[in-house]
Symmetry: C2
Subunit: 344 residues, 2 copies
DNA sequence: TCGCATTATGCAAGCGCTTACATTTTTTGA
DNA sequence: TCAAAAAATGTAAGCGCTTGCATAATGCGA
């Protein structure tokens, strides 16, 4: 029993005392109001109001063994790559009565492992993770703890894990095909860091595959790997343009890198797309804001987020195994890509 | 005691049993390892490892009445306005041993109220809030619950609340002074929504004040209020440019709006800054990526985040009242602002 | 060697909530 | 009108952890 000290935080006991019912009834009022008489409900709600009572989440989680919380672990919040999808995820979760807890890893596998444990120990009922690549121990841990987990932003038909996403390899290959068919032969790529990042790896291999299809030597393509920051995109672009002859098209692992490349091109006095074509991936807002607008791969982020939420909730409520869903990405042709000019 | 079922989640009891010590010792091993003999520590850690034990956060919070968690409630994660500052906040918190919980409100006061209650009921030891404007009941609630709260992104010397930020009014006024002294007389503004947003209000009043100082009628300035999205900035810009004569400078409440305005200017065949100057506020990455780069007010987001973390931690650990700190913003003059051309 | 100060450990009482089960009250149908 | 079914409420046993206090082990100086 909490004492009568008006300065201590009110508890369920206090509400029960004030409203003259048992703690069980108060609890039911809050969680399953239709199992309680209207009279009781009114008394209890009044007491709740009067006391300014807020349930203690930890206690509730411990007693109920449910938190109605979903955890999401994303590589970064710094740029907008995951923002839109996550927003949709959150909105859908909210309509299902769940709360979202987000944390980010800075693309560090070790940090991700920590965050997974943290979220689980905080009682997340389910988890959203980005991409497949991670230590099998983690998958085992999640299985042991029986925390339903859905993987997003990646798709592979051979995946043993529930997942929803698009085919990074095929998407980038599709874009590379366009680039090549437009006449580009000297193609370079600014890729995200491949290690532990299946999405980045897929995009790179997609470009190489398209080149091979067209009789070009994909393995000889100049590639700079760097983390997803505009300034890195800029630096990588400059480096790639040192080659002689210069590439006529620079394909980037995502829009952030591409925008960095465009900025540096401008600073170097190069005109896009006349002197060099540049492409991105993701189709975040940035892509339509730069001059010229960026040719990129449009990813249905919002749909992915929304469906991820639906599927995950279903997984926890039905105890089902979870689906493997492929979403379609589409090419977004804009001004930053054009046929190479004759004098190059 | 949890049963021997190897499929159930291991608890402290299990660790105690396996390592042959009491639960108290296990707990101390985990929380205050230097109060425990080396022998015990080794045995316990082995058991922890072997069992794959993770402490239950809810139980721990309930018993210890501390969570080492700080909550931050920001208006939006959609654009990058708060990203950099929050990142720094998080990093600093991490080095102090705290975890950050973020949630966003979509600029809805009601949602913010909910989120505050949610974070408190989740046991946040302290809170970071953006801006002053909110229902006094909320402040009272936080006081009653004695949750240390720091307000960021805003500064007012008369504030009764602990806060760290910059003077939105003065910053924008400074920028407006430049614009006017450059020769602009017909100035329009695309402002964020003022209601319940002291930062947006301060920026608008800053422009008006600068105009008055220069003998212009600030109240007559054409203003469109809209929420912070590029597409809204674009629409507002188009609307403002219908005026005859057209404004020679459009000042925007933040960079996101400004970038939208620039995009629409380009679409309308207007050259920036020859036909019209555009300015922003925040100096997020976007500002340097657009063409021409955006003149804006640079806000020391990272420093603000870092110091906010430090101060907040101090508040909870010393029980101190918390400071009121002003940070300096600086003008960032770039290509989007120039003197009006003669023919306008 | 002994006695006392230190250090290490254990015991057990909660922390605030949910929920199975038991009990009481109300409703229903004949 | 009354018994049985249904609805509402109460009782109390945990959920997994921390920590004040009591007890046991160890170290140290003389």
């Amino acid at each position: 029993m909490s004492m009568n000290n008006p300065h201590s935080v009110p508890t369920l006991d206090d509400v029960a005392r004030v409203s003259g019912v048992s703690t069980a009834t108060v609890s039911r009022c809050l969680n399953t109001p239709n199992r309680v008489s209207e009279a009781a409900r009114i008394k209890v709600m009044q007491a709740v109001e009067q006391l300014g009572y807020t349930p203690n989440f930890g206690a509730r989680a411990m007693a109920a063994k449910r938190t109605f919380t979903i955890g999401a672990i994303i590589p970064t919040m710094e740029n907008a790559i995951f923002a839109r999808g996550l927003q949709a995820f959150q909105e859908e979760l909210h309509t299902c009565g769940y709360t979202l807890l987000v944390s980010s890893t800075g693309y560090q596998a070790k940090t991700e492992a920590e965050q997974i444990r943290t979220l689980v120990s905080r009682g997340a009922d389910g988890l959203l993770l980005i991409g497949y690549d991670r230590d099998p121990d983690l998958y085992e841990f999640l299985t042991r703890r029986s925390v339903p987990t859905l993987i997003a932003w990646a798709f592979s038909k051979t995946s043993p894990h529930a997942s929803i996403g698009f085919d990074n390899h095929a998407s980038m290959r599709m874009l590379a095909n366009e680039v090549i068919e437009m006449g580009h032969r000297r193609i370079a790529m600014i890729s995200g860091l491949i290690a532990g990042n299946d999405r980045a790896a897929g995009r790179l291999s997609g470009v190489r595959a398209a080149m091979r299809t067209h009789g070009l030597d994909g393995d000889a393509m100049p590639v700079v790997q760097t983390s997803y920051e505009t300034k890195n995109g800029a630096a990588a672009f400059e480096q790639l343009m040192q080659a002689n002859p210069r590439p006529t098209a620079v394909m980037c692992g995502n829009d952030v890198l591409a925008v960095g490349a465009m900025r540096r091109a401008r600073e170097m006095g190069l005109d896009v797309p006349r002197d060099v074509s540049i492409t991105g991936f993701d189709d975040i807002e940035l892509a339509r804001v730069v001059t010229p607008p960026l040719t990129t791969v449009h990813v249905p982020h919002r749909e992915m987020g929304r469906r991820a939420a639906k599927e995950l909730v279903q997984m926890l409520e039905n105890g089902s195994k979870g689906p493997v869903i492929e979403l379609q990405s589409t090419l977004q042709m804009r001004g930053s890509l054009a046929a190479p000019t004759a004098d190059h």
